[in-house]
């Protein structure tokens, strides 16, 4: 149901802004061709006359026509502002780009200078520069440009830092692009939007600043007009000739109002959220749901009937849940399984009544204990949340309020739903609930802040919060995904314990079938906002096509090792013996000896730099045709190590030898590793452009053949990466990694961001290409099952050290 926005709809305020700007700029444009009076010609017969047909805005103290002077003043004010923004943005961008990209000492110094400049009020800085350079339009331009450079530099710096974190920058480095090319051709186009907004805001401020300077008599020199200059002259005649002040200020206000309306509403949505919500809710009121299985109500604690939920956008309402029906029995643990975007979390949030503000229920009903809670008022719903139904989220760190102690946060539930308890009783209950979840020393923990606890402890706090008011339903949305594998099992056991002890019904949402299998008795398989099927757990044979695929993929055990890693000219028994390499005749293409990687840590400009070691004494040989697996928990140093293999680490010791040049990379998330502002063709061609001398025609041929090799249609070359599906994108990354005939390819979680149903296809493609092109793989993953299926050599990494597992 996802629709692309077809046409840009204009926001009302944006239109007003554009109209205001046109109102001011049209006379200015005409004035280049024709002007009723000379701006500086004086006429003593019409001194300070009020507006008339002859002089639309009246005349000033020298008998000059105010209308003409206002237009001329607007012109010079805007010329100065445009020059200022252009110069400021130009220099600021370059400074920001360089400091943001390179970082280091230069960045540190420039940021300090920036801090110093920020402590000068901007107008003061301009004043100072003008006072040194002396008055005059040109000097005003220079002064203002100088004032505006730091703000542009700051904006661009943070943009560049942000962009540099993306994998596409790393990817560009890996393909051998020069820094200059990366900065200006790869990154720069991705900062356009931020730059444009900054320029509009800058234009606004520049107009104000020029007016301010001229008002103080330090800007445009008399007799030439500028808006600020005229205002300072007009101020004297505020008594006798108010039209002078009014006309000058009105034009200025209209102009600035126009700019700020445009800059603020640029890209803002055009719909009225409240109005749409009201309409949808009213339409739904007439709807009659045939309230079936009313006998079952006593058994079912929760009923969801024909629920449709959509997000409101400019193109209408995009439904993300398309009519789901399910019920939850008392004391049951129900699983909801599906991939990201399947609507499982939205279902949970909608049941809780805390779905995002832009979403709306378009059809259907939700019943809790037989009571219709679909359109419950906020205050009524609040009595249900936390007391009757409570919820636990994926990320316990961000889900807790950083400014309150964890004890207070659990206590708050009692404040809301059991306020009859005394403070002492409340505290006792909180501590009991904390102990219930297996937390040690709950008395001490009560006064700790979330950041002082570990991930597992935080999730226990969340659980304590969910059970403390005696909720009958707990909805847990991916409660173990952010935790380590061992810890996840413990948390699941806590859920089972709560379920058994209190008879609490639990809805467990997860993408991971194994998690569901551990404690659920029944599961719903969701996809694209519908329930594909209801399945018994331990998993029965799925009835739906999708269910079959999902289970197949999750429990796939086809091993690729024999066919793709253990063929070509070596004895199979070599593979398992770590000491039996003598017989292996294959060429060693990567060899690490006592290899260490460090990060440089800097705490401040004047602090000594120190090195923190990330990888320790790594010894590894990789032979041609190997598929080497590297497993370990996130943060153990896997990625650091392979970046070292690619020669991207600055601080290393020991030996890292590569035969056949640098390796190529395939990243986890192609959306991040492929430049979002470029087309598929451009990305593939860029690699060839930098590394080969092929002609344009040869390059295009090559791209066509490589797209064919990864089973993509060559019409895709014109498409942007953002318009492709997840599978197509990963195929493009793979195409890019093999286009130069690298020997060694590093695959960093190559399939974990993909839908389970296409994982297998990509795996097959990778292994086929491995054989076809005689490639050697290093595969990083936290998924041991996957590694065991495709790798003939496996290393486990823990806290930066490796151990050979196979």
């Amino acid at each position: 149901m996802k629709e692309k926005r077809s046409a840009i709809k204009l926001n009302k305020n944006l239109i007003i802004g554009i109209v205001l700007l046109l109102l001011v700029s049209t006379p200015v444009v005409i004035s280049f061709l024709w002007m009723p009076y000379d701006v500086n010609s004086m006429d003593s017969s019409v001194i300070l006359t009020p507006p008339s047909i002859k002089h639309w805005f009246g005349t000033d103290n020298f008998g000059r026509d105010i209308f003409c002077r206002v237009i001329e003043g607007t012109r010079s004010t805007f010329m100065i502002a445009i020059f200022t923004v252009a110069a400021g943005a130009g220099i600021g961008c370059i400074l920001g780009a360089l400091t943001g990209y390179y970082g280091g000492v230069v960045d540190e110094i420039l940021m300090r200078v920036n801090d110093c400049l920020a402590s000068f009020p901007s107008i003061l800085l301009a004043l100072v520069v003008v006072s040194i350079l002396d008055k005059g339009i040109f000097n005003v331009c220079i002064a203002l440009a100088l004032v505006f450079i730091p703000s542009f530099a700051r904006i661009m710096r943070s943009e560049f830092i942000e962009q540099s974190k993306r994998d596409y920058v790393l990817n560009a480095k890996l393909m051998g692009a020069s820094d200059f090319r990366i900065i200006f051709i790869h990154i720069f186009p991705n900062t356009f939007k931020a730059l444009l907004t900054a320029m509009l805001v800058g234009l606004n401020n520049a107009v104000l600043a020029e007016a301010g300077l001229s008002f103080l008599g330090l800007g445009v020199e008399p007799p030439n007009p500028s808006l600020g200059r005229m205002l300072s002259e007009a101020q004297v005649y505020i008594w006798g000739a108010p039209w002078y002040v009014i006309s000058a200020s009105a034009v200025m206000i209209i102009a600035i109002l126009g700019i700020s309306l445009v800059s603020e509403n640029f890209g803002a949505p055009a719909f009225n959220l409240k109005k749409i919500k009201r309409t949808v809710a009213n339409a739904r009121l007439g709807e009659t749901t045939d309230k079936k299985n009313s006998d079952n109500e006593k058994e079912n604690i929760l009923n969801v009937e024909n629920l449709h939920v959509g997000f409101i956008s400019d193109s209408g309402i995009n439904e993300v849940i398309n009519g789901i029906n399910f019920s939850l029995d008392k004391g049951e643990i129900l699983g909801i399984v599906g991939e990201s975007g399947s609507g499982k979390s939205m279902t949970a949030l909608t049941v809780m009544g805390i779905a995002p503000n832009t979403s709306v229920i378009t059809h259907g009903k939700i019943y809790y204990e037989g009571r219709d809670i679909t359109d419950l008022g906020e205050s009524e719903y609040c009595k249900i949340r936390g007391k009757e139904i409570s919820m636990i989220f994926q990320e316990p760190m961000t889900s807790l309020n950083p400014l309150h102690t964890v004890g207070e946060q659990i206590d708050e539930v009692l404040d809301l739903h059991a306020s009859y308890l005394s403070a002492g009783e409340q505290r006792q209950r909180v501590i009991a609930a904390m102990a219930d979840t297996g937390l040690k020393d709950p008395d001490q923990l009560y006064n700790k802040y979330p950041h002082e606890l570990s991930g597992g402890m935080r999730q226990r706090i969340m659980i304590a919060m969910a059970v403390i008011a005696g909720a009958k339903i707990i909805i847990a949305d991916e409660p173990t995904t952010a935790l380590d594998a061992g810890l996840a099992d413990v948390i699941l056991e806590i859920f089972r314990g709560i379920n058994e002890k209190y008879g609490t019904s639990i809805i467990l949402i997860s993408h991971d079938l194994e998690v569901i299998a551990k404690i659920c008795t029944r599961a719903l398989i969701m996809r694209d906002g519908i329930i594909e099927e209801e399945i018994g757990v331990p998993f029965e044979t799925p009835k739906s096509e999708y269910g079959k695929k999902l289970l197949e993929a999750a429990y796939a055990d086809k091993s690729y090792v024999e066919e793709f890693c253990l063929s070509d000219g070596r004895d199979a028994d070599v593979a398992d013996g770590s000491g039996g390499n003598k017989k292996d005749s294959r060429e060693i293409i990567m060899s690490a000896r006592d290899y260490n990687v460090f990060y440089r840590v800097r705490n401040g400009l004047f602090k000594k730099k120190s090195l923190r070691q990330v990888n320790f004494d790594i010894n590894m040989d990789i032979r041609r045709g190997d598929c080497v697996g590297l497993v370990g928990e996130s943060g153990c140093g896997k990625t650091t190590f392979v970046k070292g293999v690619a020669g991207l680490q600055k601080y290393t010791s020991g030996i890292m030898e590569l035969k056949g040049g640098k390796p190529a990379f395939v990243f986890q998330d192609p959306l991040s590793s492929l430049n979002p502002s470029k087309t598929v063709g451009w990305i593939l061609e860029e690699t060839l452009k930098i590394n080969t001398d092929l002609t344009k025609i040869e390059r295009i041929d090559k791209i066509k053949s490589i797209l064919k090799a990864v089973d993509l249609d060559d019409t895709l070359v014109e498409r942007k990466v953002t318009d492709l599906s997840g599978g197509q994108r990963q195929r493009v990354s793979i195409a890019q990694s093999i286009i130069l005939k690298h020997d060694l390819i590093i695959l960093d979680e190559p399939v974990s961001a993909l839908d389970v149903t296409i994982r297998e296809q990509i795996l097959e493609l990778l292994m086929r290409l491995k054989k076809e092109y005689d490639l050697t793989f290093i595969v990083i993953s936290h998924d041991r099952r996957l590694i065991n299926r495709i790798c003939n050599v496996v290393y486990h990494m823990e806290e930066g050290r490796i151990q050979k597992v196979r």
Binding site: C116, F120, L127, I132, A211, I238, P402, E412, V413, H417
Partner: protein
Amino acid sequence: MNWYLKKLISFIITILSVAILSFVMFQVIPGNAAIARLGTEATPEAVEALNKEYGYDKSLPVRFVNWLGGAVRGDFGKSMRYETMTVAELIKGRLPVTLTLAGMSVILIILIAIPLGILTTRDPGGTADRITDGSMVAVMAIPSFVQGILITFVFGIVLKMFVPGGYVDPSKNLSGFIGFMLFPAISVALPKVAMTVRFMKTRVKAELGKDYVRTARAKGNTTRRVMWGHVFKNSLMPVITFVGLIVAEVMAGSIMIEQVFNLPGMGRLLVTSIANRDFNVVQAIVIYIATAVIFVNMIVDILYKIVDPRNIT
């Protein structure tokens, strides 16, 4: 190292950099001040005498150390325009005017902006939000001096609530002085109120999208309780920093508004001194203002650290 000590050192370094920067800008770049003052046709003897009088004949480092030594004690030398007056004397009477104006403005900003911010964020898209939003856009679009002129016109001339261009010395009539400062302070504060409200709005909006807010709602907090108990405190932190940053802009606003209301503050002195190319005075004022701004920001940093438990290590 102690965090507060570090903060203090960084404060001193920043001020020192400002001092060096301003010394270079005003004492080195403009060239020979004596010739600038006496004109190109001055006799060498006169130039030399003047150089000696102002200490221009010494080497740059010596001049810097001398100047800095004086500056620390509040002695910025003589005015280059009013020969009988020292810079300190010129500034002395004017500093309180500007500081009062800036101080009153900051208080007004806090008093007006935060309640307004709460009002608008309580019901996003509601009537109160739309009205404030509209008026804030308008207020930001109008330069502060135009607002000053309009305020003079409406409250001074039409409503006769104060005498435009009038001024009462604080040593003679303190309450009268504060009364006179009120309208200028409003003029300085208004655009910044708008900036602060909008900043608060974006902060609250960002804060509302965070996971802990979802948790707070899942607990059964009403919208109002979510706002007061959770979002408000979290979004107020960056607002504190923002108000610190805005002090610089308040100073800038004061410079402009003193012109509009004819107040004898540092802003007026600055503008006249720039016109007279009286760099000793300009430099002193620049340093005073920068020091004030940096000092306030240091205080804000310290406040921030005290309020936020994550900073306690």
